[in-house]
């Protein structure tokens, strides 16, 4: 792997963010709305349940730590995914495919460059969310202890896998398939139990939930807050599962790329290409 080429892909995103304040602000708008909305909702639920009059952190169920913490981590994963897909869309929107794919760039370098962009975007977003949730609603992620690193790792890996699958879909189906990508996190959220345990879901939904790595993160949050236990084995399984997803996502991307090279799709890539 050539690190200069990986850096080139990242640098492209950095130039775009640096050169346009709108892009920079856009990265924080939705996560801020989410934190504010769920912060107040958590406070309200904490108040009416008697677990805490305002802060939601009294003697009983800690809504701030469970709800707001879970939303914050979910948004982190969405930012990782968008870091990948947005980087790819920049090449789609600027019709830069031929220049990029006719260069010595290898596909592993292309995806690694996207991953660097995703790290940059998600770390910035995480910092903003932690600051906002901590200052405005008293959320302290230290309550999760060392498991926070494992939570973030699982969500990061799964976000990367989702991003690569999203990129593959758009590469295969054309730019018009962009709309497929945005709702993916929302479609998955009911199955992974961001705000509730999987046990309340119907059996078939639980099966799907158990097959999705983020479900182990949110079950872990609840276990730590409710019982103080750190389900290390379960989380390690979630991390391993996320790695399997990345491997599958990469294989899907390679298959789509090879087909695009065989059919000439890369050379003719344009809106509504469905060949």
């Amino acid at each position: 792997m050539n690190l200069h080429r990986v850096y080139a892909i990242f640098l492209r995103q950095w130039y775009l963010i640096r050169g346009n304040a709108t892009r920079f602000v856009q990265m924080f708008v939705w996560i801020t709305v989410d934190i504010v909305l769920w912060g107040f909702l958590s406070k309200y639920l904490g108040g009416i349940s008697g677990s805490g009059p305002a802060a939601g952190s009294g003697s009983g169920f800690n809504f701030i730590s469970v709800f707001l913490g879970a939303i914050l981590l979910w948004d982190f994963m969405v930012q990782v995914m968008q870091g990948i897909t947005m980087s790819f869309f920049e090449d789609v929107w600027s019709r830069n495919f031929l220049n990029i794919f006719a260069s010595p760039l290898r596909m592993t370098e292309y995806l690694t460059g996207f991953t660097l962009a995703a790290i940059f975007r998600s770390v910035l977003a995480l910092a903003v969310m932690l600051a906002l949730a901590g200052l405005a609603f008293g959320l302290s992620v230290f309550i999760y202890g060392a498991s926070l690193a494992l939570f973030l790792l699982i969500l990061f890996l799964f976000g990367i896998a989702l991003g690569i699958v999203g990129v593959s879909l758009v590469l295969r189906l054309g730019p018009a398939a962009e709309w497929f990508i945005w709702p993916i996190p929302a479609l998955l959220s009911p199955f992974v139990g961001v705000l509730y345990p999987l046990s309340i879901l119907p059996g078939w939904m639980q099966w799907i939930g158990h097959a999705l790595p983020p479900s182990y993160v949110f079950a872990g949050i609840r276990a730590i807050v409710e019982t103080g236990t750190f389900p290390i084995a379960t989380l390690c399984f979630g991390a391993a599962l996320a790695l399997v997803y990345i491997a599958f996502a990469y294989l899907i991307f390679l298959a789509v790329y090879r087909k695009a090279i065989r059919t000439g799709l890369i050379a003719r890539y344009a809106a509504e290409s469905m060949s």
């Binding site: 830069n96 990029i100 260069s103």
Partner: protein
């Protein structure tokens, strides 16, 4: 000496339709070869295969002896290209675009090489201007500067002067001729401007319906086929390719 480009029995089929039918040719170092043909002849399909963005059905492409199918990244690193339909991203400045592609092509002494090309292609006033606001002629010059970044051993140009005014086109033609003569790189050039082809190319390949019908010196070939110039020969081949297939 190993040629800059060697194409052997190159075929591209889409199901029953053959877009390129087993063409073979070479481009020697320092040589400018024109790839001509009517629309749909298979020129862009051929160039796409040479760039590694389209997989041939069969046949091989060797650049300075290296098989593109076996060592894609290393082999493609010895080429570069400019095409009228492949402008650089409009939301980045000239310098930013060149810097990114210099990294992608592993250009040594990046900053100095970019500064040299910006000067050579008269882009100094636009170095910090976003490419999207440049005129089409200026954008073409940026694409050509990008194509020269890695001092390619094989330069692929798909209608590089199509959007340029006659004066700028003349300057660009001179630059390409100088590049081939001094740097020793081979150039494969497609164009619909027959006067330009006659002026620039050492040799031409006439492509029609995916096959090479004629090959030769653009200055003598028309006379050999009873035509007064290359344009007349082009029209003749484009309208009656079967007649020439039998020649």
């Amino acid at each position: 000496m190993t040629p800059a480009l060697e194409v052997r029995s190159l075929v591209k089929s889409y199901g029953e339709i053959a877009a390129v039918k087993g063409i073979s040719f070479t481009v020697r170092r320092g040589e400018i070869v024109g790839l001509l043909g009517p629309n749909g002849a298979g020129k862009t399909t051929t160039i796409d295969m040479l760039l590694g963005v389209l997989k041939p059905t069969s046949g091989s492409v060797h650049i300075e002896g290296d098989d593109i199918a076996a060592r894609r990244s290393e082999t493609i690193g010895k080429t570069n290209f400019a095409a009228v339909y492949a402008q650089l991203p409009g939301n980045l400045t000239v310098w930013q675009n060149l810097n990114i592609f210099a990294l992608l092509y592993g250009v040594p002494g990046r900053a100095a090489r970019i500064a040299e090309l910006i000067k050579e292609f008269d882009l100094v006033p636009f170095a910090d201007t976003r490419c999207g606001v440049l005129s089409s002629g200026e954008q073409t010059r940026v694409s050509l500067a990008k194509a020269m970044l890695n001092r390619p051993h094989l330069l692929l140009l798909d209608e590089p002067t199509a959007s340029l005014d006659p004066s700028t086109a003349q300057i660009i033609r001179e630059k390409i001729k100088t590049f081939a003569a001094s740097d020793g790189g081979g150039v494969l050039w497609t164009s619909h401007n027959m006067q330009e082809v006659t002026e620039v190319c050492d040799r031409i390949l006439f492509l029609s319906r995916g096959a090479i019908l004629l090959e030769g010196d653009p200055r003598t070939l028309p006379g050999e086929h009873g035509k007064k110039d290359l344009e007349e020969l082009f029209i003749s081949i484009a309208r009656e390719p079967l007649l020439h297939e039998s020649l």
